[in-house]
């Protein structure tokens, strides 16, 4: 993990309210960025937006020293980050967090919802080729919100909330159908909390290995400040884990996602 002044190569809209930042960050990339890990990006300008934004990596390319991030405009900070221009410098800290661990799974399902499709796309590119069978399930609000579907390394099934693309259903329903046919050895997932809760219930019930990438407001990103907590089951009850260093990827059996 290292702090680097990354050079902006491009900032381009890839879906409604979602843009891709391509950054030249050779020092971070050299450290080996693994799917599920994130970088902590400082909002440029003055101190108005003090805290860094934790952004999952969508692609890391060692040959060019670049990382690609998909960022959803969620507030003023992510809006300002959209305004960067090629050759601007951004302070980036990374790679951070625990990655997805395929552990030799033969049949892998990837599940991405909304902006959560970004780390899932990264995992697909890394792991789909090694698996005997891989299927990705992407859920979006509508066609205009869809991204990450070009040059995919495996079969992709898409659902949308409004029926404008793929099946008019929840992504977890698509997944359930595929599980009913033949369950996978492993599910890797990232998406909104309701989706993750459904997935957790489903995989615990069916005893399918599942790793979930979580999101929480962060400050240091290093494990020191203890603000990005998530409740986890431990031997004698529950305790708080740090999403930044104990996650963001957790075993579905480990975390408590109750509201």
């Amino acid at each position: 993990m290292i702090e680097e002044q990354a050079t902006v190569l491009a900032a381009e809209d890839i879906a409604k309210d979602i843009y891709r930042l391509r950054l030249h960050a050779p020092h971070i990339v050299t450290q080996g960025v693994r799917p599920g890990q994130f970088v902590h990006v400082r909002v440029p300008g003055n101190t108005t937006h003090l805290l860094r934004r934790p952004i999952s990596v969508m692609a890391a390319r060692p040959e060019s020293g670049t990382v690609e991030l998909a960022i959803q405009i969620a507030g003023e900070g992510t809006r300002l980050l959209r305004l960067v221009r090629p050759n601007d410098r951004l302070s980036v800290l990374g790679p951070l967090g625990k990655p997805f661990e395929p552990r030799g799974a033969k049949r892998i399902f990837f599940v991405g919802g909304g902006i959560g499709a970004a780390p899932i796309r990264c995992a697909m590119d890394a792991f789909a080729g090694e698996a005997e069978e891989a299927i990705a399930f992407f859920g979006f609000r509508g066609a205009e919100y869809a991204y990450g579907l070009e040059n995919v390394p495996c079969e992709v099934r898409v659902s949308t909330d409004d029926g404008t693309m793929g099946r008019h259903t929840k992504v977890t329903c698509l997944l359930q159908e595929a599980i009913d046919e033949q369950p996978p050895d492993l599910i890797l997932a990232c998406g909104p909390a309701p989706m993750l809760r459904t997935l957790q219930n489903m995989t615990l019930r069916l005893r399918i290995n599942c790793q979930l990438s979580l999101e929480e407001h962060m400050a240091c990103g290093l494990g020191a400040c203890l603000v990005c907590s998530c409740k986890a089951r431990v031997r004698n009850g529950t305790q708080y884990h740090r999403v930044c260093v104990d996650g963001p990827v957790f075993d579905a059996r480990e975390v408590c996602l109750d509201v």
Binding site: M1, T48, L50, R52, M218, L222, C225, S229
Partner: protein, 307 residues
């Protein structure tokens, strides 16, 4: 490390710090995470994550909310307890060669006294008594509001303390100078201020408060003018040393607190925006001294030209 162009060393209650920059409690853990980025031994000191007599798991999430030039936190004193600190973290920290300040928070006077007793035989250099944590009912805030209570808890803990005792003052009070005088009268060796200002953040879309604890502590550049004013007032009110903090992001910010009378400063929220903030501020403070043609950092303490 390159030769320093100005003498940054300061003395705080007889303890020598190689420079006046101290990592603030609650933003720096026990130093291990930041030591992965740089050698924390180059800092003047660290005030460790607030310790309690028993381990605490802290508040539910969300524990943080960004605000304009600042942030609210409501961690709720999550920590492994004073015993685990002494056995698992303190020896490592002492090896790093910076001044170690053990920050303690209690729910009773007895809690503080027992923690002071446990820490007395250790190598920790100073105690910082947190009587101002706004995020837990039992975080000592009850002792930090009224001057009588500040006096009582300080006096009790002083009798059990084996190290110089620093009292961390709350800004959420009627008259901080009065509380500062109460701590001094009770035997405090040093004061640190300010702790966070209480605040809330509202999510209008969801019509809910952002923090699970509802109320949190505001920190960052947003509070610097308030912090400077309070440090300036308290330094006039007491004769003991003062450590200033509140929104320090740069060496110039640190100098401003020292000009108001602080012997040293703590850097907290800046560590989140810039993980290299503490060593950067050390260098920037040195550059400020050189530009001001000052050889020793002590020369700027209280050197404000008053109107």
């Amino acid at each position: 490390m390159s030769e320093r162009k100005a003498d940054l060393a300061v003395r705080l209650c007889g303890v020598r710090l190689k420079n006046p920059i101290i990592a603030a409690s609650g933003t720096f853990g026990f130093g291990r995470e930041f030591d992965n980025l740089y050698d924390i031994g180059q800092l003047g000191g660290i005030s460790v994550k607030g310790l309690t007599l028993e381990p605490r798991c802290g508040n539910p999430p969300h524990r943080v909310a960004e605000t304009a030039s600042g942030m609210l936190n409501a961690v709720g004193l999550e920590n492994p307890g004073v015993d685990a600190f002494i056995s698992e973290h303190l020896p490592w920290l002492l090896d790093k060669g910076l001044v170690v300040i053990a920050n303690i928070a209690g729910s009773t006077v007895d809690d503080y006294c027992r923690m002071a007793e446990k820490l007395a035989p250790t190598g920790a250099h100073m105690l910082e008594m947190n009587i101002s944590c706004p995020n837990v009912k039992s975080g000592g805030v009850a002792f930090g509001i009224e001057p009588d209570m500040v006096y009582a808890v300080t006096r009790a803990v002083k009798q059990h303390a084996g190290q110089p005792l620093m009292v961390k003052l709350s800004p959420n009070v009627a008259d901080i100078a009065q509380n500062a005088r109460a701590a001094e009268a009770a035997g405090a060796d040093c004061l640190s201020l300010i702790n966070t200002l209480t605040g809330i953040a509202v999510d209008a879309k969801r019509r809910r408060l952002v923090l699970a604890n509802n109320v949190g502590g505001l920190s960052g550049p947003a509070i610097k003018p308030v912090a400077l004013r309070m440090v300036w007032q308290v330094c006039k009110a007491v004769g003991i040393s003062v450590v200033g903090m509140g929104g320090i992001m740069t060496g110039t910010d640190a100098a401003e607190f020292m000009l108001c009378g602080a012997q040293a400063v703590m850097v907290g929220t800046a560590n989140f925006a810039d993980p290299m903030a503490c060593p950067r501020i050390v260098s920037e403070l040195e550059a400020y001294l050189v530009a001001q043609k000052v050889r020793k950092v002590g020369e700027i303490v209280g050197a404000l030209i008053e109107n």
